[in-house]
């Protein structure tokens, strides 16, 4: 019995490690090869405090949480700003250093570590045997998993997964990427520290091999085997990997030494095979146990053939009304009313005023003193030959690239110099020419991420105001659903966007941009990459935005599209705006024709 509990305790401890690593790697997409090193911070802190101060285990756990959390913060702040390769390198460096230091520092017992960590108790209950330790371990492990669950399978987790899929797009819908990444990195490091305490308690020593690089890779293997982004999978993974040692020892009858070696060979090869054949792990993401079984038996998702153009809502359905809103908005009109074509003659106010926007990249002038304005409720187009700087303008407006000089005033507020997520929350968002959906998330989730003012996207309400979060989430999903209906993709709400045809992905991306409720929409080549039926659908949807009072600016190369949609056109050449007017005015201009088509 005691032996059984030893294994159960070990499994639970590693469930704790694996769940926290999964939250970091599987959900948020940040690689760390140092989970054991953070465990060491916690475990050694506890060992040291117990031996020198006989500090009770409750305090040990809390202090370990703090020490490991601070460690995570210190590593995370520089590392998370960088690309994956650097994160791997820096966490590898951290793991190497921690192991090396613990191995050599006498204060921590060197190679032997801190020995004889026994005699612990909690609330009078002794913690000497595996059976006695079990209650504490299972409670702590359950708390770790619960925290990871709450963070991962919630509106907060939806943002994390969006970050994993595409950071740029997530930033573009108004989220502060770095804050999310840092919080998760800190929390998961802290949780690993707590698991480290349990490990030290269970082993009665705090020694370097417990927190070695091999141990980190074992934890990574558990996460990968079980499935990235699936906490249930982490439990499975932790169980399987932990039980391989006894398997080799008792089933295959190898010696203890050889068992642990073959175990490592085993899951090393397993990692390789999984990466070759099934990189999403045994249990695919977002699937609980019941749905997993049903999926296996039922239909294979609803992959739609490319020829099927959705019966789009468009003029028949009204777009959802904006939440709150800053200032008066034009009333929603029923689509059956005649829509008065808007021209520049209508004196609408300027929602966006751009003055003298400029940017150089080294020696090349990308944007040179560009000034223009977007009027409320109109569609403006930016056209021009290749390399004219049109997409650069979008990047500068949203703050994705910092301009050298100029001013961008959105509804009276200067947004120049703000980060993309700040600009997005002020009411200006962009779509991408290469669409940038979140492929492994469902259509509904793709759109829901963009809805603003969600309580569940902040950690404190997530844990302390669950009822409020739940009702906020209901409202969010409803709004997201209505935007999906507007673009005609409601029937695909649960389908992962990555499996859809490109045209459908573009519709979802449009719904996503609309769900931000931003007033100003910058659409980058909305009609490119799709066949003419889809172009029709897109154009119809964009036209339907006018009566709602949204202000749209598109970059397009297809002049037929521009002619159909645009109320006003700006012509750009070599970074400057050289002409503006209607399509007829522009195409009648000889000099423009020469600029666009070249002279004979």
């Amino acid at each position: 019995m005691e032996l059984t509990f030893t294994y159960i305790d070990e499994i639970l401890i590693f469930v704790g490690f694996a769940a926290s690593l999964n939250l970091l790697m599987g959900y948020t997409g940040q690689v760390s090869v140092a989970p054991a090193a953070f465990g060491a911070l916690g475990g050694y802190a506890m060992g040291y405090l117990w031996i020198h101060q006989h500090m009770p285990i409750i305090w040990d756990l809390l202090i370990a949480l703090g020490v490991a959390g601070v460690g995570g913060l210190l590593v995370g702040i520089p590392a998370l700003r960088l690309t994956t390769e650097w994160l791997i390198l820096l966490t590898l460096a951290f793991q190497t250093i921690v192991t090396a230091l613990l191995d050599t520092m006498n204060a921590f017992g060197g190679t032997y570590g801190l020995e004889d960590i026994t005699g612990l108790s909690i609330f009078g209950h002794k913690l000497d045997t595996a059976t006695q330790q079990f209650p504490l371990i299972i409670v702590v492990a359950a708390i770790i998993v619960a925290i990871c669950w709450r963070l991962g399978e919630s509106p907060y987790g939806r943002v994390l997964r969006a970050i994993r899929e595409d950071e740029t797009a997530t930033r573009a819908v108004g989220k502060n990427i770095f804050a999310y990444k840092l919080l998760i990195f800190t929390v998961t490091s802290a949780l690993a520290g707590v698991a480290g305490v349990l490990l030290v308690m269970q082993s009665s020593v705090a020694s370097p091999p417990l927190f070695s690089f091999d141990q980190s890779t074992a934890i990574i293997a558990m996460v990968i085997l079980g499935g990235m982004g699936n906490l249930l999978g982490s439990v499975v993974g932790a169980t399987v990997i932990t039980l391989t040692t006894p398997f080799f020892q008792y089933a295959v009858k190898l010696s203890a030494e050889y068992s642990s070696l073959w175990r490592l060979v085993g899951y090393g090869l397993l990692l390789v095979l999984i990466m070759i054949f099934r990189s999403q792990g045994l249990v695919p993401e977002g699937v609980g146990p019941i749905r997993f079984l049903r999926r296996r038996v039922g239909s294979r998702g609803a992959a739609v053939s490319e020829g099927v153009v959705p019966a789009v809502a468009g003029p028949g359905v009204m777009p959802p009304q904006a939440i709150g809103g800053n200032g008066a908005r034009p009333q929603l009109r029923l689509a059956s009313e005649a829509i008065v074509p808007r021209t520049r003659a209508d004196s609408e106010e300027a929602v966006l005023t751009v003055t003298d926007l400029s940017k150089r990249f080294g020696g090349i002038v990308a944007v040179d003193g560009v000034s223009f304005e977007l009027r409320r409720g109109t569609i403006t187009a930016l056209v021009g030959p290749n390399g004219a700087g049109k997409t650069s303008v979008f990047n500068l407006l949203t703050g994705a690239i910092r301009a050298d000089r100029g001013s961008v005033v959105l509804n009276g507020t200067e947004v120049m110099g703000m980060l993309p997520n700040q600009v997005a929350s002020r009411g200006m968002v962009r779509s991408f020419q290469d669409v940038r959906v979140f492929p492994r998330l469902s259509c509904l989730s793709n759109v829901a991420v963009a809805v603003n003012q969600q309580a569940g996207e902040h950690a404190i309400p997530l844990f302390f105001r669950p009822v409020h979060v739940a009702s906020s989430e209901r409202a969010t999903r409803e709004r997201a659903m209505r935007w999906l209906e507007f673009v005609g993709m409601a029937s695909m709400a649960d389908v992962p966007v990555g499996s859809l045809a490109f045209g459908q992905q573009k519709l979802v991306a449009l719904a996503r941009v609309l769900a931000t409720d931003a007033e100003v929409l910058l659409l980058d080549e909305p009609a490119s990459g799709i066949d003419h039926q889809w172009v029709e659908v897109m154009l119809g949807l964009i036209e339907a935005l006018r009566p709602e009072g949204r202000t749209v600016c598109i970059v397009e190369h297809n002049l037929a599209v521009v002619g159909r949609l645009a109320d006003h056109i700006y012509f750009m050449e070599l970074g400057r705006i050289t002409a503006e007017g209607s399509l007829d005015e522009l195409t009648g201009d000889r000099r423009l024709a020469e600029a666009y088509f070249g002279t004979a």
């Binding site: 490319e306 030959p385 290749n386 390399g387 290469d434 669409v435 859809l500 045809a501 490109f502 992905q505 080549e525 009609a527 490119s528 990459g529 799709i530 066949d531 003419h532 172009v535 190369h557 297809n558 002049l559 037929a560 195409t587 024709a593 020469e594 666009y596 088509f597 070249g598 002279t599 004979a600």
Partner: protein
């Protein structure tokens, strides 16, 4: 040795019903066209019309989703870039068309990668230096440090080192001063006239292209909407409705 354009009727390259794109993104929805021996054919069209995708698919950089590509009477629909280069195809991309970290001379040498004879390589190198004198003085300069126009000339030189039968150029006039564009386009015409090289040119610069091209196709949103001779295209008053 110079070959005049007497074989203009035979199709060196034939494309039938080509469909192509990037992953899930279909960009080309079935195009047909051909390029004859010693002919210069231009494909015009707006940005994003699918011209570059078509070119890359013909060359083998992208997999074809459907249709057939016939080159020198062989089906090369799924052939590798290397195979096509060995058969005399040459491609100059629209961006990043040199090896920036390598010297001018190294760039040119790479153009002649599959040329066995050292004498032949030296001969061609000399010819290119003659055509673009500025390159001969810059042999040891890193290609990435040259101006855009110089890099363009280099890219043409690299392509010519292989003595291609089909030269495919993607917007060679992009970002160049008009005088340089003139120079390069004249060089291209020279290749077709003197050496019977067939040229497939993608351009947005209609004016310059019409100076040297024999025939024109117009592509829009992934489909061919028009085929005309250079004369017919030149006689148009404006081109806005094609783009």
């Amino acid at each position: 040795m110079p070959v005049n354009g007497q074989h203009k009727g035979e199709a060196l390259l034939e494309v039938h019903g080509l469909r192509a794109g990037y992953g899930r993104k279909e960009v080309v929805f079935g195009v047909d066209f051909h390029v004859g021996e010693g002919e210069i054919v231009t494909v015009l069209g707006h940005n994003g019309a699918g011209k570059t995708t078509t070119l890359k698919t013909i060359f083998g950089m992208l997999p074809a989703h459907g249709g057939r590509i016939v080159y020198r009477d062989q089906d090369v629909t799924h052939a590798s870039c290397r195979h096509n280069v060995l058969q005399g195809m040459s491609l100059i991309p629209s961006e990043r068309f040199v090896f920036p970290d390598l010297t001018v001379l190294d760039n040119l040498r790479l153009g002649a990668l599959h040329v066995k004879s050292a004498d032949l390589r030296a001969e061609r190198l000399a010819r290119i230096h003659e055509m673009f004198p500025i390159l001969s003085g810059r042999s040891d300069q890193a290609a990435g440090t040259m101006s855009g126009g110089e890099q363009r000339m280099l890219s043409l030189g690299v392509a010519m080192m292989a003595n291609p039968k089909l030269l495919m150029l993607d917007e060679p006039s992009l970002g160049l001063a008009p005088s340089l564009v003139q120079l390069i386009f004249d060089a291209i015409r020279g290749l077709a006239d003197d050496q019977g090289v067939s040229v497939l040119l993608l351009e947005q610069n209609v004016g310059q292209a019409l100076r040297i091209t024999d025939r024109v196709y117009v592509m829009r949103s992934g489909r061919m909407i028009l085929e005309e001779t250079a004369e017919q295209m030149s006689s148009r008053h404006q081109y806005w409705d094609l783009f």
